[in-house]
């Protein structure tokens, strides 16, 4: 497949949990300002792979990788890379909404606060802008000082997206961001992803084939730690090359 500008890239990537070989020589390049979906049966390594892009696996005892992960052509696993800096560039939204037990406002400006930004005007402007980008502003603008935990699940997830947007990353990783949400909230998140790809490179793990079809430009199918097939989403869903892909998207397993 032809990639115009590759934002993220994995080169001969292997990943291990102790002796367990979780990812097997993966090679992939992902288009800038596009949505790439990872699909595949549960346990095939989608989350593991996604979390190599912001080095979230670093905290797991016994986890190691071989090969390279490039962000804008630069290896992010070299010693001179600071993970906290990397994660300001590569934001993440998790499967279960995980707002901090703080106010809505404090959640959104958290990333700025830890960077030492104290200017109230900057904080307030960023808060409003991020919430608007996350299509949440109108629902919460009158209760910014209320606890984030009082929001509905769908609102909490959009708040987490706003929180990620506030530090202006260039990449957003989403690990099944709508799997814990009702259909209406899911639709809102999908619309949002569509809007966000104008400015961000998005990688989304999803269990839901229709969702991959609706939101993504490219789709990668993983099976037992291998990247089986990677293509334009339309191509993948209409004429999959590998029989395993075929079986999966027609619902024969997974």
């Amino acid at each position: 497949m032809n990639i115009k500008h590759s934002k993220l890239e994995a080169i001969n990537l292997d990943a291990y949990y102790g002796d367990f070989h979780a990812l097997k020589s993966i090679n992939i390049a992902m288009e800038e300002k596009a949505v790439t979906a990872f699909i595949g049966p549960s346990g095939c390594g989608k989350s593991t792979f996604l979390r190599t892009f912001n080095r979230m696996n670093d905290y797991i005892d016994g986890f190691r990788i071989e090969g390279q992960i490039l962000l804008d052509g630069r290896d992010i696993y070299t010693d001179d890379v600071r993970v906290d800096e990397l994660r300001k560039e590569v934001g993440m939204v998790f499967q279960k909404p995980n707002p901090f037990p703080k106010t809505i406002y404090e959640n959104v400006v958290y990333g700025l606060r830890i960077q030492g930004i104290k200017d109230k005007k900057i904080l307030q402007e960023t808060c409003e802008k991020s919430l608007q980008q996350a299509a949440l502003w109108n629902e919460v603008k009158d209760k910014l000082d209320k606890s984030a935990l009082a929001l509905s699940g769908g609102q909490q997830q959009r708040l987490c997206i706003a929180r990620a947007l506030a530090i202006q990353p260039s990449v957003i990783l989403m690990d099944e961001p709508a799997s814990a949400l009702d259909p209406i909230s899911t639709a809102k998140i999908e619309d949002l992803i569509y809007e966000l790809k104008k400015d961000y490179t998005i990688v989304i793990v999803t269990h839901n084939m229709q969702q991959a079809g609706r939101v993504s430009d490219h789709t990668a199918f993983f099976y037992m730690g291998e990247l089986v097939e990677y293509a334009k989403t339309k191509t993948m869903f209409t004429s999959p090359k590998d029989t395993r892909t075929q079986n999966y998207i027609t619902g024969r397993f997974g």
């Binding site: 979230m56 994660r87 300001k88 993440m92 995980n98 901090f100 958290y110 830890i114 530090i167």
Partner: protein
């Protein structure tokens, strides 16, 4: 089968009943003796007089000097135990690897198993002389060393309860913090500690309750001089040590002097009862938050 079950049920009921009975009788004895005491000494006098000299010829019945002594040693103990205990809890949770944790935790528990008499003599014979080498005005018996050593004693209580509280914070919050580019330190202090704050508060309240009731260390190292002061350098007396002092002395049963220990005991009971209820109440609120 049914008979057996009945018997077991009966035994369980009996042990519960005995526990309740004992508690009720303790409170009953405390109350009835206190009532006799307060029929001779008014509560106003008890709370406002500035001296506590029930064993002297000129009797004064102000509990405040004992309360002040208790307060002083407790504050010093918490001032020592909270920062150290919390640091240990954070370190174990956010930095230490599993192997180090299994090594250090039993070691901490050892601190809690040392008899308090040993702590008391440690305060009197090691800490006080050491402090005297650079605090010239420090008396041989004082609240400072007693408080410090009491703090050392309750470190494991705060560290292990706080550690439980911090590890009860959902892992997803830690991931959220790291995912936003937080350093370990920012994650610990900006997210984990605030999220665990109610649990940490409970650990502090229980530690206070423990410090308020502590007897041996203060009896040995702090002197037995009721004094209405917040100066940590001079001898003081706490509520508990007063009770020990009178119980061991030869005050005749049934006398007013004898009843002072029940009035003092009642005061102590009210304090720890309130503290325990407070911690219970916080715990309940805290559980609701994460369910």
């Amino acid at each position: 089968m049914r008979v057996q079950e009945k018997i077991i049920e009966g035994l369980l009921w009996l042990s519960a009943a005995i526990t309740i009975l004992i508690t009720v009788s303790i409170i009953w004895v405390l109350l009835s003796e206190s009532v006799l005491f307060f029929s001779e000494v008014s509560i106003v006098r008890f709370l406002t007089e500035k001296e506590w000299t029930p064993l002297f010829a000129e009797k004064k019945f102000g509990i405040m000097p004992l309360v002040a002594g208790t307060f002083l040693t407790t504050v010093i103990a918490i001032a020592v135990a909270l920062p150290i205990g919390l640091t240990i809890a954070i370190y174990l949770n956010e930095y230490a690897n599993a192997r180090f944790k299994t090594f250090i935790k039993p070691l901490l528990e050892v601190l809690a198993t040392i008899p308090t008499v040993v702590y008391g003599f440690f305060a009197l014979t090691v800490v006080t002389p050491f402090l005297q080498s650079f605090i010239p005005g420090l008396a041989g018996f004082n609240a400072l060393s007693a408080g410090i050593v009491m703090g050392i004693m309750i470190i494991p209580m705060i560290s292990s309860l706080s550690e439980d509280a911090i590890s009860a914070v959902p892992r997803s919050l830690r991931e959220a913090a790291y995912g936003m580019g937080s350093t370990r330190l920012q994650t610990a202090f900006g997210v984990m500690v605030p999220a665990a704050s109610s649990g940490i508060l409970v650990s502090v309240i229980l530690a206070i309750s423990r410090a308020v009731g502590e007897t041996m260390i203060v009896a040995i190292a702090a002197g037995q001089q009721p004094r209405l002061t917040l100066n940590p350098l001079v001898p003081i007396e706490t509520i508990t040590t007063y009770i020990v002092q009178v119980s061991l002395g030869d005050v005749p049963h049934g006398s007013l002097e004898y009843r002072t220990i029940f009035a003092a005991g009642m005061t102590l009971f009210v304090f720890t009862f309130l503290l325990n209820n407070l911690s219970f109440w916080i715990k309940k609120k805290y559980q609701e938050k994460y369910d």
